[in-house]
Point group: C2
Chain length 527, copies 2
Amino acid sequence: MTSEMHPSRWGDPTMAGELPESTRDLVEIALGIQETPAVGEVSLPPSRLQPGLLDELAQLLGAEHVLTDDEQRRLRTRGKSTPDLLKARAGDLSDAPDAVVRPGSHADVENLISFAVRHHVALVPFGGGTCVTGGLAARREGYAGLLSVDLVRLKALRDVDRRSMTAVLEPGLRGPEAEALLAEHGLVLGHYPQSFEYASIGGFAATRSSGQASAGYGRFDAMVVGLTVATPQGTLDLGSSPANAAGPDLRQLVLGSEGTFGIITAVRVRVKELPAEKVYEAWQFGSFAKGADAMRHLAQNNLMPTVLRLSDEAETALNLASQSDVGGEANSGCLMIVGHEGPADASATGSVVGRRALVADALTRLGGVSLGEERGTAWAEGRFHAPYLRDSLLDVGVLAETLETATFWADRERVYTAVRDALTHELGEQTIVLCHISHVYETGCSLYFTVATGQDEDPLGRWAAAKAAASQAMIDAGATITHHHAVGTDHLPWFAQEIGPVGVSILRSVKDGLDPTGVLNPGVMIP
Amino acid sequence: MTSEMHPSRWGDPTMAGELPESTRDLVEIALGIQETPAVGEVSLPPSRLQPGLLDELAQLLGAEHVLTDDEQRRLRTRGKSTPDLLKARAGDLSDAPDAVVRPGSHADVENLISFAVRHHVALVPFGGGTCVTGGLAARREGYAGLLSVDLVRLKALRDVDRRSMTAVLEPGLRGPEAEALLAEHGLVLGHYPQSFEYASIGGFAATRSSGQASAGYGRFDAMVVGLTVATPQGTLDLGSSPANAAGPDLRQLVLGSEGTFGIITAVRVRVKELPAEKVYEAWQFGSFAKGADAMRHLAQNNLMPTVLRLSDEAETALNLASQSDVGGEANSGCLMIVGHEGPADASATGSVVGRRALVADALTRLGGVSLGEERGTAWAEGRFHAPYLRDSLLDVGVLAETLETATFWADRERVYTAVRDALTHELGEQTIVLCHISHVYETGCSLYFTVATGQDEDPLGRWAAAKAAASQAMIDAGATITHHHAVGTDHLPWFAQEIGPVGVSILRSVKDGLDPTGVLNPGVMIP
């Protein structure tokens, strides 16, 4: 695994191979694609930062932590949405930062913020660079420059409290790094978004992230018990207790703030014992509705496994077609993945074997058919690889992207249909729309859509129209604009509708109070 | 049960009898009290509201919903802290509102807020009047008057969604009223603070309340999935989904805002199936530390019962002394109450019998000795009666009050000792300090202190000094100023220390944005 990602692709370039000839034929026939798109010549705009400012930055952080070379700037350009990748492939790196700076401490971050306020320079916090909603494409007009604040030097596990089962993590730690440090203490965080291999602790907090195992370990916002945040007004230290009634929970105002209120320099998280056993199994349900009802039953009866996912009929069919070596049964219906992580000892409380039996019993009573572990294990092994498949698809001219929402159980069917209809209406017949539920609550669930169609002449324009139609369908149906991808810049118009003018005014008030000159990630998250 | 409370006492006056002669003797000897305090002559300041404003209010709400008679104003004076009661007993009703208004709809509340802004009148939302931290004693200097906004007419169960397991409740519903309406649908909310019989849904939300069964049903902030709030800037409607990543969770900014950002007119809550069985049992542990360790084990191993409480040695001794009819064993150590509510059918998931066996097994392994159901049932029957005992104690010259905090497990012992020491140092030898843990999390717990000493000549001054010392001890030990009593006006100085100047500035920014003229509960919650 490489630690940095090219702006036009995901992760390690050796991981995204060419599609097999058979899949490629399928893609060409199904989506009507005949030509492989040209990859444009990449050119970078020159850095606009005045030499005097660069000198001052070098004095603040050390010259070796102020980087202006093309490669470093290119690597911090935008995030990993399909439009981001398409722009980079077309040679458009106009959103490149003017420089990359690497603070090494909370004090460095404070100094950097003072510098930014003093010279009206925009600061874009950078963790893993995995944002898919334009959160790294801050507004730069009117600023003396734009700095990518790479938190790569803030990588310490600062404290482990085994009695309270908490740990203090620095924001630059990527998912696997944080887990490796915790594992040395026999502990686990358990936060596995699809971006896990690259995304950072600071990013998880700033975007109020959810992971594939949030059913068992909880959402990231439920894991956070304390936060340290550098703001233009000084340092904010939150987290006196697990929970309290001391005014509004300000931790929840920082979580999801996407670098616009301050830069998170430490996160105190709740941790768990490292699970001795992990089992992933597959189940089949007759329909998406029946599978969703089974999930609802588990959530409303305190029977949650660690991982719980359900593909709709279309995603199930494609998934099984691409894994045709894994048995021949169950070519219809909907596939559910159920994972259990915990103690291996059957007599231990919450043992995998005990919980697995309880959940299996419930799923069987609700009409599920066990398909065994093979497909579950295959899912677990490939759980972080979907972005590589997207690269391969983009290579052959497919426009592939995802979008997601969440709603209450009573509205699940209606939201599902509205978003599907909006996408197919906008993109036309030769479009594949797949959906799965990956996050389940007592009162509702997420809906995650994967879309594939041909790139045609104007893939960016085509996708923008489809995304807008799907987003409006979510809001019109009363659902959220994003369950776990955050707001960024892409979701702003619909986020404004979701929280309404009074909600928007609250965010603006907080922003104006904390960052009156607007140097922190300008244009992001706040409509 | 009467529906309204006299400002000098709790609840139904027939419930607080005289102390038995034997207990009274004990109080006199232990706390050195010889005289029963005199109860002062009660007089009310005249209403300061100009007749023109009263006429306008009558036009807005109907004359029958604008009340200025002494009795109505007296019943809305302050809350139920011991200082509140002592002031009322001494005849000081200087904090009485100028009038009581009763809006009957969200539109009425909006109109009332417009009226308040127009004429610079302070609005104090009133639900159950059970606040113990001065949250009903808003600042009135500089205002044309102060209105108690009694939400008693907003008492509807507006929607039940059995599929999503949510219900929309209006803020004026008191605890038992909300549960009775939900019970007609076979549902339960499960929120039982000690103030349950009088406190309201709006108050639960506005103060980020916890209940005695929060271990099982969750804190009130975890129950809320949606909120409607009337603010001077318009209506705020939050709750598009169970959870999401669409910016900060603004619901958590309204929860705990204590009427300073807006008036809550509807709350969408997660509900559960009405439990068919409820069992409360008692356990004995050798020490407070051993009992707390057992609680920690349950919380960190997903073994939480519905109710989980632990008294320290002093509280246990007093509790057993006052219940001497209940068996003779276990006169030492610490008493734990463990409650289970859920399905009666042993084969149902989460059945009481199944969970009870798991928890009992764990507690036995951790050194607990089961004392059976008798004391557990006695606790459950008397669970809402402590405020009546306080009235009886105040009647005979005892200064009795409670205060509470929360901290992480690693700091529990240190915080416990620091607060006890501060109280006994300030109040002197003849003081009883009892403590229990009533709320347990994976990472920490609450600590709830009950204090009893003689009233002496200046009970208000004595208590103010003791409360200040205990509060500073909490903050100095890194704990929170309040786990479940909210900020009000009494906790402001320590709340400011807890969240720091940047935290305070955030609250002020939100306040200035939503309520620029400061008519909503002025002087409360925001330092």
